[in-house]
């Protein structure tokens, strides 16, 4: 097996996809809202940051300090960006899932289009 560390946990995958979707507007609050919308579950900001920190340590995402606004009490935003390694990890995880599901009659389609 090559590069098992590239596989993502389910929540990591969701957070990574939400970060990709938001593009340059990806910061904690927006990522949390996006994940909550997609999963229809209440998600804590702490869980999102713990995952983002883990993904950053793995080199899948990077972060930068953004602007502070009055409604944030003068605290700066932390923007996140998915790096090449993160995109590769997403592709590998989804490919593995597709491979496992191939031939099973699940009655629904897995996310496809991953090469």
């Amino acid at each position: 097996l090559s590069g098992p560390k590239n596989y993502l946990g389910q929540f990591e995958e969701i957070v990574l996809l939400a970060t990709l979707q938001l593009g340059e507007h990806a910061y904690g609050a927006k990522i949390r809202q996006k994940v909550e919308e997609a999963t229809k579950r209440s998600i804590s900001i702490g869980a999102v940051y713990a995952t983002l920190d883990r993904l950053e340590r793995k080199g899948f995402i990077s972060s930068r300090q953004g602007e502070a606004t009055p409604e944030r009490g003068g605290r700066a935003k932390r923007y996140f960006k998915v790096e090449g390694a993160g995109e590769t990890a997403l592709k590998e995880t989804q490919a593995a899932r597709s491979k496992l599901a191939a031939g099973l009659n699940l009655g629904w389609e897995l996310m496809g289009g991953v090469s």
Binding site: A29, S42, I45, P70, E71, G73, R75, K77, R78
Partner: protein
Amino acid sequence: VKPKPFTDDEVRAWKERLRKQPGGREGASTTQVQCLSMVKFRDSSNREWYVDYDSFMHYVAEGLIPADAISEVLPNTALKILGGWSSVSLPSSQMPNRSTPPSLAEKALLLTLSKEEREGIIGDLAEEYSDIRSRHGKEFADLWYWRQVIASTAPVMFMLIRRWLVALLEEWFRRHV
């Protein structure tokens, strides 16, 4: 609400009120009460704010907003008392109102989060709290904030309690076994 300029009569009335209120100085000269401009600006979320010019410059100096965020200047819409006691007096509906989250919950976050995590997490929660409060009211927003704080700090709290229990058990074994 777009602030309207104070009329001369209103300025006179305000000066009288300001002189007579606690902390005001009876008989202060009229030059100690100044008419200032308010400025209109949009923050990064495209929200519109009206603040007095001094507060705007304070935000700029603190790096909270860029100086070019200003879109309109409204002369004579604020009053300020100068001297040993000073305050800007505006009708409350015109004051920018940053709703602050429950302070105890914010303190719990400060205690449990690392220095690196604080800026982002507390800022994000404050931003969402402000939005939720304006849509659903204070009680709902407070409850939402507490839920976020408990869910976010529970793993840290659990770890601290576990460490404390282990230390307690170790101490007990050292003494009794």
